[in-house]
Structure formats: C-alpha cells, structure tokens
C-alpha cells in the first residue's frame, strides 16, 4: 500500500454542488486525497460519483465548490477557460468509453497531449509515449488505430495517454464497466501497477475486489452526499452504517446470484 504523507492533500474538493435543471446531483461534496493515495469512490448508480469526477476536471460546470490542486486554489463555479486548461494540464481522465482519438494511432493518442498542450518536442514526446505504452503492454501496437483494438487494449492505451503528461491526479470514471470480464482483469492489472508506483488516483468503480485490494481508502456516495469514508479494509469488514451495509449486501447478492 502506498505511503500516505502527512503534508497538505494534493487534491482537495470542498462544498461541490451540482444540479441538472431541477435534479440536484451533488449536495456539497468534500473530498481530500493525499499524494500517492488511491481513493475508490463507490455507490449505487445515480449517486453522483461520475458527476463529481467530471466537476473536478471541469467537464461539468459545478454550481458551487472549491478545488485545491497541489496548492493552487480554484473556485469551481467561476473558473476561467485559462484556469480550466491549467487544471486539466495537471490532471488526467480515463473514461468509461475510452475516448481514444479515432484519427490518431496508438502512439499519436499518447503524444498528442504532450506535443500540443505541453509543447514538448516530438522526439521527447515519442520517447515518453513509448515508455508509457510499454508499461501498459501496448508498445507492440504503436501504429494501430483505435478501431483495430479490443476494448481492453483501447483502455490500456487511454491509461498510457493519462500517465504520459505526469498528472498530479488521475481520475478513472468506471474504467472497466464497458469491458468483458477477462478484459477487465487486464485493465485492473495495469491500474494496480500504477497504484503501486505511487500514482495518485481517484477511481469511480463497481469493482469491489479492486476497491478492497488496491485502494487505500473508500468513499461511499449516495444521493449526492458522502455517506461514509474509511480505509478500504475497514470499509468492507466493518461497515460504518446501515446504508453501507445495505449497499454491500446488494453487491454481494448480485455476485452470488445464480449460485445454488
């Protein structure tokens, strides 16, 4: 498990609120993540987990809330385009549906952000990209286009793309929900390696095994609020309240469904 420092959190969200029309999705969420920490965000569908990640990376515009990223403070309700770009240059996002650039090769997907957004010389970008692709086991497919890859391969390339810019935090939005079980295993394996290397990660997931074995801490959300928060083992072994217990029972129920 990664060493958790005692200094200020690298990422801090405070009072994040978001409504879509009349539907209030987030009711003042607070979340602090230490450097090198892996936080799993769990909760039933519609609990606001994905929206929280999207607000943190400005893919959604929060109605209120503050973000502190490695000492830089931002008012999420009033970020300028320039601030949004700065936040995004220092973070990375892995999508449920991968979202690889369809008109770029595997290599091009990883170098794009380095060359265009980080203004890195092409040779240097290529070197970093190849190294990142080696780490996710995709260095043998540099010239393939996304359409030629399986879902698991695409997601591994997406993870390489996320690592390449040396982000302070990587957000994962249900990275394995669109994958078959065997492909899920290969992607989770890559994520576990990243976590062991000390990458700071916030992972919205339904993979209880990953949350329990790889995450340092679990944040449980329901109805747009954080219902419970605990070190991973404790979260599963000693549920903090009725809501958590009910959620874990449902998850276990679905896993044993069909067994006699």
């Amino acid at each position: 498990m990664a060493e958790v420092s005692t200094t200020a959190p690298i990422l801090q969200l405070a009072g994040v609120c978001k409504a879509f029309g009349d539907a209030e999705v987030l009711h003042g969420i607070d979340l602090a993540v230490e450097r090198g920490e892996v936080v799993a965000v769990l909760g039933p569908s519609g609990s606001g987990k994905t929206t929280l990640l999207r607000c943190a990376n400005l893919l959604e515009h929060a109605d209120a809330g503050e973000l502190a990223l490695d000492g830089a403070h931002f008012d999420l309700a009033r970020v300028t385009a320039k601030e949004a770009a700065e936040i995004r240059r220092n973070t990375a996002f892995v999508f449920q549906s991968y979202n690889l650039f369809r008109n770029r090769t595997v290599l091009g997907n990883v170098t794009e952000g380095l060359v265009v957004a980080h203004r890195m010389p092409k040779d240097e970008a290529r070197e970093i990209a190849v190294r990142c692709l080696e780490r996710v086991g995709m260095a043998d497919r540099l010239d393939a286009y996304p359409v030629q890859l399986s879902g698991g391969q695409q997601q591994r390339v997406a993870i390489a793309r996320a690592m390449a810019t040396s982000p302070k935090v990587v957000y994962f939005d249900e990275p394995t929900s669109a994958l078959d079980p065997e492909l899920t295993v290969e992607v989770l394996g890559v994520m576990r390696d990243l976590a062991q290397d000390g990458m700071t990660m916030v992972v919205v997931t339904h993979e209880m095994g990953f949350a329990r074995n790889v995450a340092d801490r679990v944040v449980f959300m329901e109805h747009g609020v954080v219902q419970a928060e605990a070190p991973a083992r404790e979260f599963f072994d000693h549920p903090a309240n009725e809501r958590v217990r009910a959620f874990l029972d449902t998850v276990r129920g679905s896993q044993t469904l069909g067994e006699s």
Binding site: R88, F101, R102, V116
Partner: protein, 224 residues
C-alpha cells in the same frame, strides 16, 4: 447512323472536350474549393453556437437552398449590373457556384461535426488542449472524413451544374455543343455525345471517390 453524323460526332468530340477541360473542370474545381472554405466556416459557426453569426448562417442556407441555381446565376450576372455591379461571366459563375455549393456542403459538414462523439472533445480537453486545438486536430478532421462521401457527391453535382453557366455566356461544354448543333442541326447525337462526356467525368470522379475512401479507411477511419 449515317457517315455524315459519325463524322460530325468525331469532329465535335474534341471541340466539346476542350471546353470541358478548360472551362467545366476548372470552374467546378475552383468553385468547390471556395465552397469548402465557406462550408467549413458556416458549419463551425453553427456547431460552436456563436450568436448572430449562427443566425446569419441559417439565413444564408435558407435562401440559397430555397432558390433555383439558375435564378441565382441570373441575379448575379444580369441583375447586379442594375446596382452598378458588373461582373464578367467567369467571376459571376465562380461566385454563384461556390456560394450555392457552400450552402449544401455546410449542412453536410455540420451534420458530420455533430456526429463526432462528445467524448472526443472531452478527451482533448482532458489532455490539456484548448477548444480550438481540439477542433482543429481532432473533431474537424474526423468530421471531414465522415463528410467525404457526401461532399464527393456534391462535387459531382457541381460538375454537371456548371452546364447552367452556358446561360450567362460562359463557353463550357454545353455552349460548345449548342454552337455545333446550330451549325449542323444534329441535336440528338450531339446532345447525347455531350451527355456521354459528362458521364465520363462523373465516372472518373466516382472512381477517385472510391480511392479516397479506401485511403481514409487505411488511416483508421473505417465506419462501424
């Protein structure tokens, strides 16, 4: 078919083909390049929902698509001189063809832009790119690939529509044919002959389209 008609057809083939190569094709290609420029701007203005410009774009498309091309040619060539704006046949034709095809192509490109999944734009943002960078490097190239087959159709239509320029005294293939008909009175064979030449041009463009689509597919953009 009499020897006389065969002789006329043989002689006129080159006489019709030459204005095809010096007028029809350059007129279509120049107008199409300008039309693409217009179309990309008009499509982007709508895609990005820029106020005022977006409404102007709708107005432009509404008027141009709602009126006959021939009338647009007449307005510019025969009408504008009343306002003191006198244009030669060639500039008149290029202006009208590019504005006309631009309106249709703008709709094609707008549809293609909107078919690019939002996730492509979001992924671009998330690696730190600005809106303009993502549009230029990711969204627009994908949209143009999607739009390639319908845009090819529009080019083929334009090649045939240039025959309307005969009405504003541009010496293109139809006018060249009309001149030979008025001299020989062999309307049927000569109009069939010019039709065949158009068919050859269209076939060549269709072939180029297929080649282009295969080249794009090799670069990872095959559909589905």
């Amino acid at each position: 078919m009499s020897d006389r008609v065969l002789g006329i057809l043989a002689d006129s083939f080159v006489q019709i083909l030459i204005p095809g190569l010096t007028a029809t094709i350059p007129l279509a290609l120049i107008s199409f390049v300008l039309a693409l420029g217009i179309a990309v701007v008009v499509a982007l203005v709508q895609y990005a929902r820029i106020p005022v410009l977006r409404q102007l774009a709708r107005l432009y498309i509404w008027i141009i698509r709602g009126t006959p091309l021939l009338i647009q040619l007449y307005v510019v060539f025969y009408g504008l001189p009343d306002l003191g704006i006198t244009l030669d046949p060639w500039p008149s034709a290029i202006i009208v063809f590019s504005i006309n095809t631009g309106a249709y192509s703008a709709e094609t490109i707008r549809g293609a832009l909107e078919s690019v999944p939002a996730g492509q734009l979001e992924a671009g943002y998330c690696v730190g790119m600005t809106y303009l960078q993502v549009m230029r490097r990711i969204v627009l190239p994908q949209a143009l690939r999607t739009a390639f087959p319908p845009l090819s159709n529009e080019l083929i239509s334009l090649v045939k529509d240039t025959s309307l320029a005969a009405n504003i005294t541009v010496l293109e293939m139809l006018m060249a044919t009309q001149r030979i008909v008025s001299r020989t009175y062999e309307a049927l064979p000569l109009y069939l002959e010019v039709g065949v030449i158009y068919l050859i041009f269209s076939t060549a463009l269709t072939w180029l389209q297929g080649w282009g689509e295969r080249a794009l597919a090799r670069r990872g953009m095959e559909r589905g």
